[in-house]
């Protein structure tokens, strides 16, 4: 990479990182909300048994993190396989009718604002290399991303650890305490974690960080109280002597 292209390389890295942030934000917010819901529900049923709440929280967190990671892996792989099949099909078509690829690329360039002679010359230059022509046809005309952009295993790993990290917030208070103290601490720090995550998500997506953070926070508090209510109800109907 020549030195003067370094800023572009930085932009590419940032875009790639933002793409990975999707898995991180999704995994962590799921870990925070679902495990907060779980521990709040169990707390509702067993308000004074912090250890039980913690064990169920940890077990649930790992089970759900594995499930989320496997889900991410399988869906990423499926998406990758489908994408690869589409690219192969597009390549077969391209080999049969290269003129069609040139004509459609010409139209694409003209739609983007080039005049016809300039667009023609650009496509002609690109056409001097079959691979370059196909890549441009694939990206600009068909809108198919490159397969190399996707890494299913990395996505799954990010998802797993993000989920576990998220789950730590609602579970930890029950490891070191119990009762309402642990419960409200769990809701509090989960809310703060979600607020921060929402802030980060807003910042990365160039939206209002405060708006995004508030949305995440409200969802967390809502999930915590609803789950506790469900736990209370279940314990009243099924666990009462």
């Amino acid at each position: 990479m020549s030195k003067n292209l370094a800023p572009i390389e930085q932009v590419k890295s940032r875009i790639e990182l933002k793409g990975r942030a999707r898995e991180f934000v999704f995994g962590m917010q799921d870990g925070l909300i679902s495990i907060l819901g779980l521990v709040a529900g169990v707390y509702g049923a067993y308000p004074n048994q912090g250890f039980i709440v913690a064990v169920i929280g940890i077990t649930g967190a790992f089970a759900a993190a594995i499930s989320m990671a496997v889900g991410s892996l399988l869906s990423s792989e499926a998406e990758r396989d489908l994408l690869l099949a589409e690219i192969n099909q597009a390549y077969e078509h391209f080999k049969k009718e290269p003129y069609l690829a040139q004509e459609s690329l010409l139209e694409e360039f003209m739609n983007a604002g080039l005049d016809k002679p300039t667009a023609y010359k650009a496509v002609k230059v690109i056409s001097s290399n079959e691979t370059v022509l196909f890549e441009n046809f694939k990206d600009s005309v068909l809108g198919l991303p490159s397969v190399e952009d996707e890494n299913p295993y990395l996505n799954a790993t990010v998802m797993f650890f993000a989920f576990v990290l998220g789950a730590l917030f609602p579970v930890t208070p029950f490891l070191i305490s119990s009762g309402s103290m642990a419960y409200y601490t769990a809701i509090g720090i989960t809310g703060i974690a979600l607020f921060s995550l929402g802030f980060l998500k807003g910042y990365l997506s160039n939206q209002s960080p405060l708006k995004s953070a508030s949305k995440f926070f409200i969802i967390a508090v809502f999930a915590g109280f609803v789950s506790e209510g469900v736990g209370n109800l279940v314990s009243q109907y099924y666990l009462s002597p």
Binding site: Y99, Q102, E103, L106, K116, P117, A119, Y120, K121, V123
Partner: protein, 167 residues
């Protein structure tokens, strides 16, 4: 569409030869053989294969006392750039309103562009050969040249007869 022995309809439009622009009309066809070919548009990727195909035969065409004229709905300025881009050595007529293509019966009215149509016209302005192909299929320049040679031989010509190969 015009057919064999039909007279060339009268027309008049601006055309470009090299960098020179002038008015072309059916009168330019009188007294010598002509290959008139219509094509959809300049700066596309099928058309130049045909346009340069005719260009490669320009010397032979001259020896056969024949002229080649290409016609599309593109404006004169576009033709100028196209001629420069491909090094075309024969005139391109600008049929912007599609009237010439329509009078020959080869205008695709759906998008106001000409079909890929080829006509060989005698010095007496009679149509001697017509061929039109689908938009997606480029015409055979070799076949047009063979037919021109066969017609000019004045012989009764069996399939694929080519005076050049008979010599």
């Amino acid at each position: 569409m015009l057919s064999i022995n039909d007279k060339v309809p009268s027309f008049s439009a601006l055309g470009v030869n090299g960098s020179a622009t002038r008015e072309y009309s059916d009168k330019d066809l009188a007294g010598k053989w002509s290959i008139i070919f219509f094509y959809p548009e300049d700066f596309s990727f099928i058309c130049p294969t045909e346009v340069t195909g005719f260009n490669r035969h320009i010397e032979e065409v001259k020896k056969l006392d024949t002229q080649i004229i290409g016609i599309s709905v593109d404006p004169v300025d576009m033709h100028k750039e196209w001629i420069k881009e491909l090094g075309i050595k024969y005139p391109l007529i600008s049929d912007e309103d599609g009237k010439i293509a329509k009078s020959f019966g080869v205008l695709d009215e759906a998008d106001n562009r000409a079909h890929r149509a080829t006509f060989i016209i005698s010095p007496q302005l009679n149509i001697e050969f017509t061929m039109v192909t689908s938009r997606n299929v480029g015409r055979s320049v070799e076949e047009t040249m063979r037919v021109l040679r066969a017609i000019q031989s004045g012989n009764l010509c069996p399939a694929d007869y080519d005076p050049v190969k008979e010599e």
